[in-house]
């Protein structure tokens, strides 16, 4: 019913493709941030580290006292004193290999694994202060919280980006639809002349722009997924940039982008068409 218009068709299709491409990355970033936050939260939430700084002559006694306290603390599932090799491995990134760890006055580290219900860190600190003054409990809260908050903020930012992308697509489709409606004023006039209702006229434009949105978004989504699949990524243990791609069932999520783009294009064109038709009388 509406003559093909290469310009608006190309504009709408290209915009939908570009927006879908960006949405794939925003979605991937959102999922990666979520996974990161969960991993940090879960992994660190169930462990704590106890550091004993004491003169060498008191180290064994304080360690024994600490272990006894921990053994009788409710919510502590297990404890483990870190070996010299493990401490060397912890320091290796900063001091390199072959560190003479025995010559250093390093604190003794005890890893605490919590039971599902967890322990009372305030109560434990009070007991440690009384019986092993050189022991300092680090339940990871201090540095875990900002990390998880950062990851959560990153996830929100990515989700916000998806909303902005949808808004930009809606704005672009609205502009293109307005242009198309103005360019096809004669078509609208003829359709009115033969008794077409507004819904019929609007449908002719809505169908066209929705289809363009679908084709463009499908191409953009496929391109985004292909780039993510081919992108060389750091191993999972390497932190923030690990696992930016999708994994497992996550690969199905980008497939929601074309239907969402269709919904945005449909709504934007429909609202624009009815607004223009009512304004033009």
């Amino acid at each position: 019913m509406v003559p093909a218009s290469g310009y608006t068709a190309l504009l709408t299709g290209a915009t939908a493709a570009a927006m879908a491409f960006l949405a794939v990355f925003a979605l991937a970033l959102s999922l990666a941030s979520g996974r990161l936050a969960d991993r940090w939260s879960q992994t660190l939430a169930q462990t704590a580290t106890l550091r004993i700084s004491a003169p060498p002559s008191q180290m064994t006694a304080q360690t024994a006292a600490v272990l006894e306290i921990l053994r009788t603390t409710p919510g502590v599932a297990s404890v483990r004193v870190l070996e010299s090799d493990e401490q060397r491995a912890l320091l290796e990134p900063w001091f390199g290999p072959d560190l003479p760890i025995e010559a250093l006055a390093l604190p003794r580290l005890i890893e605490i694994i919590e039971a599902p219900d967890g322990f009372d860190p305030v109560g434990l600190r009070m007991r440690l202060a009384a019986e092993a003054p050189g022991a300092v409990l680090d339940d990871h809260t201090r540095w875990r919280r900002p990390l998880v908050q950062a990851a959560d903020a990153l996830r929100l930012l990515a989700l916000g980006s998806i909303l902005l992308i949808a808004g930009a697509l809606a704005a672009m489709v609205t502009l293109a639809a307005s242009f198309s409606l103005a360019a096809n004023a004669q078509v609208i006039r003829v359709l009115r002349l033969v008794g077409a209702r507004d819904a019929f006229i609007a449908r002719a434009f809505v169908r066209r722009f929705t289809l363009r949105g679908l084709v463009g978004a499908s191409i953009g989504t496929a391109a985004g997924m292909a780039v993510l699949a081919l992108m060389p990524l750091a191993p999972a243990r390497d932190g923030v940039f690990s696992g930016l791609g999708f994994s497992g069932a996550d690969w199905l999520l980008p497939l929601l982008i074309p239907p969402l783009a269709v919904l945005v294009a449909w709504a934007a064109t429909r609202v624009t068409a009815f607004r223009v038709l009512r304004r033009e009388g």
Binding site: P3, V187, R189, V190, R192, L193, V194, G195, A196, R197
Partner: protein, 223 residues
Amino acid sequence: MIRLADVAHRYSGRELLAGVELEIAGGAFLFLTGPSGAGKTTLLKLCYGELQPSAGRVELFGQDMQRLSRDALADTRRRIGVIHQDCQFLDHLSIADNVALPFLAAGRPVPADDLRELLNWVGLEDRAEARPPTLSGGERQRAALARAVIMSPEVVLADEPTGNVDWEMSMRLLSLLLELNRMGTAVMIATHDLALIRAAKAQVSARVLRISERQLQTAGSDL
């Protein structure tokens, strides 16, 4: 069917029509004449609801046009066939599709046999797949007539239908409109072609109205 009571129309602050009284009854044959710019096209547009009156009342099939919803007005337009001087086609569609447009707009299936018969009636059966720009003026007017009557309207309003065609084609179009009228369709033709009016009056009891000084009057006996 169509009634205008004390209708006025203003455009850009200028009054084009005032105190217009008009009734198009079933089976009527009317001519609307007057000098260029007198308001013939405006009056036709008021009759099929493309324009709203500045004052007065327009009744379409017993309903006050100004109280009709947009959808109801669109539905009412399907009962009125309109022929424009410039035909108003969609140039990217074939003549057959243009003629069938009222059915498509109504969301009804196009009766292929009726469409073929109609194109045959206006002598365009061989041009069904042609695009409007490739047609002559006379062919375009006949296609416009076919589109105007495909939904079997109760009224046909024609705006200068013979304005761009020669005398022979004018007579052919007139004979088609007279044939429609004999089948019970009311016809109103806006024209300044007095020869056409005389030729019609020789065959049908036609009433001639003239727009003069913004008023609608019955034309003198010379027509």
